[in-house]
Chain length 285, copies 4
C-alpha cells in the first residue's frame, strides 16, 4: 500500500523522502521522484511523517527508543495503518510527551484504489493538525472523514469496517455453499449477487473469488483478516459490546488457519463453509 | 408488492384480471386499468396466472381443493412469492398432475423498485414455458436470471439472497453498537458505510435506518425476515449444509420477537445488538 | 429400548402382549414370557398400550387410519418416545376424539439403564390416568416426575434434557481439542473431567468415547441427536426462546452429517471439533 | 481460597508463614497457628512459596523487581492461581534465570472444598520438584494430576475445565428459559436435571441457583468467569483451535457485564438467557 500512496504524494508535487524495509520498494519510489533515505529518522526531516506499518508491534517498535520522536519535535506524524484503538491512544500519549503531533488516519481501499488516489480516509486527532494534513489526504484519497480528537476513534471505524467486509465474505461463502449443494452454478449465483443484490465492489470481488475458488495469490492475507477480527473483538471487549458475528468469524478464520489457509486470501472463508458442507469438487487453486 | 407489479403489466399493454383479498387493493388496480374479478378462478381465465402470496401456507391453500388447477389446464401459473424450495417442488408436482405449467419466479426489490419495473427476477421451470413468460418479466423487471428446470432452484437463490441481506443488517447493527459505545455519532458512521465501504442501496438504506433507529413503519416486517431465515436453515438442513451465520441471525430475530419487535422493520436487529451492549440513548422510534 | 422396558414389565408380573416391527425383537420378548401378537391392534387388547417409536412420523403413522384408536376406546395409551411437543399435543387431541386416554412419558437412560429398571420417567397427561400407570412406571423406572396435564410438557423436558447432554458433548469435544493441541494426553484429560469436575455417567461416558475416538458402534446415532436438536430449536422457535447453544450444536451435527458421520455415535461432535483445529492423529474408529 | 488452603497446611503440621494483602485475612490465619509476616519476601523464608493471586497481572507484579526471586534462589514457588498458559511459561523462565524452581498447580474446587482438603490439584513442572511438593498437595487436595514438565500445561487444563463449567451453566440457562416459557416450574426442572440427568455438584448447584435466580452474593463473580473465558479463547487462538462454544459464552458474559451483571454470580448467564426470551417474572435477587 505504501508505494501507491507515496507515488500519489510525489505526483501532487510534495517533496517526499522515503524509507522502506525492502530496498526494491524504495528503489521503485526513487524512480517516481522520491528521495530515498537511509533511516526512519531521515524520513522525519520534513514537516510530516507518514507511516504505513503492518501492526501494533511494528508501530511501537518504530518509536521504541524515543529517537524518532525527538527528531520530530514540533512536527506531525500521520499513522495510516490499521492499529488497535488502544495502541493508537498509547502512541498519541508517547508523541505528546515529545511534542510531536499525532494523527491517526487509516484508510479503506486496496492498492489499486490507492494508485488512483481514491482512498477513503478516516482521520482523528487535533482538528487543526488534521486540517494541516488535508492536502496530503487530498492527494491520496477521494474523501476524508473526521472522527474526532481521540486518534483511537479512526481506528475503531476502520476495525468496524473490516469486520463488516469479513461478514460479507462469510455470508457469501455460506450462501454459495447452499446453492452449490442445490446444484446451482456458483458463477451464476455470483452474477446474481453482484447485479441483483449488492452492486458494489466488495461483493462483486468476493462473490467472484469464492465462486471461482481463486484464493491465491491473496489480495489480503487471511492471517491479516484474523488480526483485524481480533482487534474488533478486543475493542468490543473493552467496551462490553458483544459482537456475536465477529466471534463467529474469528472461529472461521481460526479453522482456516488450522487447515492450511494462513496464506490464502481471506475470501477462503468460503472454502471453510464449503468443507463444512462436505462438498467436493474441482477446487481451482 | 402485487399492486406495482400488476400496474406494470397493465402499463405494458397486457390484459390483466385481478383478484385480491383486500377490496381496496383491487380497487386501486381497477383505476390503473385492470379488470377486477370475484374469485381466483376468474383470474385464471387468461393464459397466465401470476400469484404473489405471502407464504407456503397461502400458496398451498390456493390450490387445496384442486378447483383452480382444473380451471387452468394447459395454462401457466407463475408463482413470484418467496416459498420454501420444498413447497415449490410440491406445487410443481400438483400442477403437473392437472396439466398446468408451473414457473417459480421470486424477485429481489422493494415495492418502489417494482413500481419502476426494475425488479430482479429469478426464474425456474420448463425453459420453453419460462421463455413464454419473458414479456411479463420484462414488464416487471430489469433482468431475469434463469436457474434451471426445477422450480425450487429459484426459491433457493431468493432465500440465499434474503439471508445475505439479513447478514448485512446484523453486521451493520453490531458495528454500529461498537462505534456508538466508543462515542462516534451513528449517522457519521452510516455515512462512512454508505460511501466508503458499501455504496449500494441495501447498505445505504439499512445503515440509515439503524443509525436513526427508524424501525417503524416497517419496510419489511421482522416477522417475515424470521420466516425467510427459517427457510434458509431448512434448505441447509435438507442438504446438510451448516449455516452458522443463518443460525446466529435466527436467534437474533427470535430475541427481537420475544422483546416486542415482531412488527418492527427487520433492521431492528440493530436494536437487539444495541441492547445487548447495554447502550441507553434517545431511541427515535 | 423397547426390549428391556417390556422385559421389566414381564418380570414385574404384568401380562404383556408385544408387537414389534422386527420379528427377532418380538421373538426375544417371547422368550422372556411376553405374548407376541400379529398387529398393533392386538397389542391394544389389554388395558394399556405402551409405545416406543422413533419419531413423530412413526407415532402419527400408527394411528393414521384411526383403527387403533377405535380398538382402544376407554383405554390408555402411554407414549414413551421422544416426540415434539406439538406432535404430542396433536396426538392427545386425536386420542380424545376417540375416547382414548393419552399419556406422554418419555424417559432418560440408555438401554442398560432400562434393563436395570432404573429409567427416569417424565410423565404428563390427566393426573388420574398417570396415577393408574404408576405400577408400570415403577417396573421400568427408578423415579417418575409428573409435569402436568398437557402431554407436551413431558416432551419439552425430554427435549431440553437431550439438548443439555449434547451441550456437554460439545464442551468436552472443544476442550479436548484444546488440550490435545497443547500436547496433553486425551485420556488423562478424560480422567480429570470424570473425577475432578463432573463425576457423573454422562461426562464419564462421553469423555472416554471422545478421548478414545470410539464413535462406532453408536450408543446413540448422531442422526438421532440431530433430530432431537431440531425438536429443541422448534420448541424454542414456537415460544420465541432463542437457544444460541442449540443453534451451534445443530450446525456441528450438520457438519458431522455432511462429512460422513450420520451413523457414528453423537459423541462424534468431538471429531468435528478436532478436525476444525486441523489436528491429525491416530483415529481409532 | 487462600485462607482454607493455608489452614489445611497448618493443620497438617507444616510451618506456615503468611502474607496477605488484607490484614483481616492474615489475622484469621494467625489464629489458626500461622506466622504472619510483613512482606512477600519474608513469606519466602521457608523452602516453598505457595501463591494464590487473582490474575496474570498480580502474578507478574509479585516478581516485577526481581527481589522476591533473589530471596528464593534454590527454593520452590508453587503458583496455584488460574493464569494464562503464556504467563505461566513466562514466569517459569523468569524463575529459571534466578535459580528458583517453578511449579504450576491450579485447582478445581470452591472454598468449602478447600476447607475440607478435597481440592483436585493439577500440577506441572519439573517432576522431581513436583514430587517434593506432594505432601503440601496431600494436605490441600484429595488427588493430584501430573500434567508434564511445562508449567503452562496445568493452566490449560484448568482453563479448559472452567470453560466446561461455564458451558454447563449456559446449557442450564437456555434449557431453563425454554421450560419456563412452556409453563414448567423452574424448580421442578432443576430437580430433574440434578437427579435424572447430571447427578453431580456442578449441575446440582447451578440448576438450583438459576431456578431460584439467586445470583447474589456471588460464589464466583461473573467478571472472573469472563476472565477465564478470555484465557480459554486466547489459548485456542495461540494454537489455532476454534472454540465456538467458548466464543458464544464470551458474548453472553459480555452481555451480562453490559447490563449490570459484573458482580453477580456467573450463573447469571441464566438471566441473560431468560431476558433474551422476553420472560418476565418474580426475579428473586
Amino acid at each position: 500500500m505504501g508505494v501507491p500512496m507515496a507515488t500519489r504524494l510525489v505526483e501532487a508535487g510534495h517533496d517526499v523522502r522515503v524509507w522502506a524495509r525492502r530496498p526494491a520498494v524504495a528503489e521503485s519510489l526513487r524512480e517516481q521522484g522520491a528521495t530515498v533515505v537511509a533511516a526512519p529518522d531521515d524520513a522525519f526531516a520534513g514537516d510530516v511523517l507518514v507511516t504505513m506499518l503492518p501492526d501494533d508491534e511494528a508501530a511501537m517498535a518504530l518509536i521504541a527508543d524515543g529517537a524518532l520522536l525527538r527528531v520530530g519535535t514540533g512536527k506531525i506524524h500521520v499513522n495510516m495503518a490499521t492499529l488497535s484503538s488502544g495502541c493508537s491512544r498509547e502512541l498519541a500519549n508517547l508523541h505528546a510527551v515529545q511534542g510531536v503531533h499525532y494523527v491517526s488516519a487509516p484508510v479503506f481501499g486496496r492498492s489499486e484504489v490507492a494508485a488512483a488516489g481514491k482512498l477513503a480516509i478516516l482521520a482523528a486527532g487535533d482538528p487543526d493538525i488534521v486540517r494541516r494534513c488535508q492536502p496530503l489526504f487530498d492527494a491520496m484519497g477521494r474523501r476524508t472523514w473526521y472522527l474526532g480528537g481521540d486518534p483511537g476513534l479512526a481506528n475503531i471505524v476502520k476495525i468496524g469496517g473490516n469486520f463488516m467486509v469479513a461478514s460479507a465474505i462469510e455470508a457469501i461463502g455460506e450462501a454459495m455453499a447452499l446453492v452449490r449443494a442445490a446444484g446451482i452454478p456458483a458463477d451464476l449465483f455470483a452474477d446474481i449477487i453482484s447485479n441483483a443484490l449488492f452492486d458494489t465492489p466488495v461483493y462483486r470481488a468476493y462473490a467472484a473469488l469464492i465462486a471461482e475458488e481463486r484464493f491465491t495469490p491473496p489480495g489480503f492475507r487471511l492471517e491479516l483478516g484474523l488480526k483485524d477480527l481480533r482487534l474488533a473483538l478486543e475493542a468490543g471487549d473493552e467496551r462490553a459490546v458483544p459482537l456475536p458475528l465477529a466471534s463467529l468469524l474469528r472461529d472461521s478464520f481460526l479453522e482456516a488457519m488450522a487447515t492450511g489457509g494462513a496464506d490464502l486470501d481471506w475470501s477462503a472463508l468460503g472454502l471453510v463453509a464449503r468443507r463444512r458442507a462436505g462438498l467436493e469438487g474441482p477446487f481451482v487453486q
